[in-house]
């Protein structure tokens, strides 16, 4: 054979190694997430999970669960939002989110009625945050109207604001904004789409 040309040498150089890098890279990425967490550099850890209401994105800060996103919201865009609002030090990692996934699995399977996990409400400010704190007290299977929620959050006139607090809830499912319905009994809007809200309330009512 001949002496290879420069082009052949360069093509061989940049070719991926035989068998590919995928396994080694997966191992190194897991190690990076662990070391980043140990060094206090993992500001946001996230994972995805499948659920009866579609794929979910779960994100946690060291303080707790900070975001749950439905597929409808576009997970890539949500990660960019988290990067801007919290920190770009974001890695796929089980830290603080594997436990959330386990509890959500139990919830969807009908084996869990309350979540026992730390939440980080830093993405909600002011009155919205007060509303979300209140929502956590609405028990499984119960519902409240936006009017009642506004009153319970300390501002009876702020019915619309209570509605937008629910609509922008960063931690749906775990902070149960789906349990807030219109005064006329209809379901109202939901971040995951009205069909998801309907499915959740039907499940919780045991029907």
């Amino acid at each position: 054979m001949n002496i290879p040309t420069d082009r052949q040498i360069i093509d061989d150089l940049i070719a991926p190694p035989p068998g590919g890098d995928a396994a080694a890279l997966a191992r190194l990425r897991a190690r990076l997430a662990e070391e980043a967490d140990a060094e206090g550099l993992l500001d946001v850890a996230y994972r995805t999970m499948d659920s009866p209401v579609g794929p979910l994105l779960l994100a946690a800060t060291p303080a707790g669960l900070v975001r749950v996103a439905f597929e409808l919201e576009n997970h890539d865009e949500v990660l960019v939002e988290l990067s801007t609002a919290i920190s770009p030090r974001i890695l796929r990692s089980p830290r603080g989110v594997d436990d959330v996934a386990r509890q959500l699995d139990e919830y969807f399977a009908g084996r869990r009625r309350a979540f026992e996990l730390p939440v980080d409400l830093q993405l909600a400010k002011g009155f919205r945050r007060v509303v979300l704190e209140h929502l956590r007290e609405i028990p499984y299977g119960a519902t409240e109207s936006y009017t009642v929620v506004a009153r319970s959050a300390g501002n009876p006139k702020a019915v619309r604001a209570a509605g937008s607090a629910c609509a922008t809830n960063p931690i749906p499912l775990v902070v149960p904004c789906h349990r807030v319905v219109r005064s006329d009994g209809t379901y109202g809007q939901y971040r995951g789409g009205p069909a998801v809200k309907h499915a959740l309330l039907t499940m919780e009512a045991g029907r």
Binding site: P4, L28, R31, L41, Y46, V80, I90
Partner: protein
């Protein structure tokens, strides 16, 4: 700002190949991990529009030199960064192909220039900055490296002997 996870997914493979070419497969893992940990630390301060690949390879270059210093326990080299990379002992262990073995056997500046120019896809200006030499010298070193690889592979036992054309 792009979430750091996307940076790891996009550039992780190239940084791994650079680390392997500089250090061999065993030490490459540590260099890769240290590179991305240092990058994660500095990432929020990275200027928008920066050349992320070049930034990562620069960090990998420094981490590789740290590894080699630790490995040889030699005193700090007085010269430029490429002086810190010793001849070829113990050098990168030849990887899975003859070509990678040939890369490992190149003189340091030629090896680094080839790795940074072709594996990392940096410009000659960026290669020059890393090797602390001019852009033209970076280009000469890369060309020298490729020419040596060509002769080495052409003359290797795997294929019939060829005349050395130097």
């Amino acid at each position: 700002m792009q979430p750091f996870e996307e940076i790891v997914v996009e550039h992780g493979p190239v940084v791994m190949r650079v680390c392997r070419a500089l250090l061999g497969p065993v030490d490459a893992d540590d260099a890769w991990s240290e590179t991305f940990l240092a990058a994660l630390r500095a990432y929020p301060d990275l200027r928008p529009g920066s050349n992320v690949a070049g930034w990562l390879v620069t960090i990998a270059h420094r981490k590789a030199i740290d590894q080699i210093r630790a490995r040889s326990r030699a005193p700090e080299p007085a010269g430029g960064l490429s002086e810190a990379l010793p001849g070829n002992e113990p050098g990168p262990e030849p990887e899975d192909t003859e070509l990678h073995g040939a890369v490992a056997a190149l003189p340091n500046k030629a090896r680094l220039a080839v790795v940074y120019r072709y594996l990392a896809d940096l410009s000659y200006a960026e290669v020059g900055a890393l090797l602390e030499c001019s852009q033209a010298a970076a280009r000469r070193n890369a060309a020298d490296g490729i020419a040596r690889l060509r002769r080495h592979l052409g003359a290797s036992p795997a294929s019939p002997k060829q005349k050395d054309e130097s």
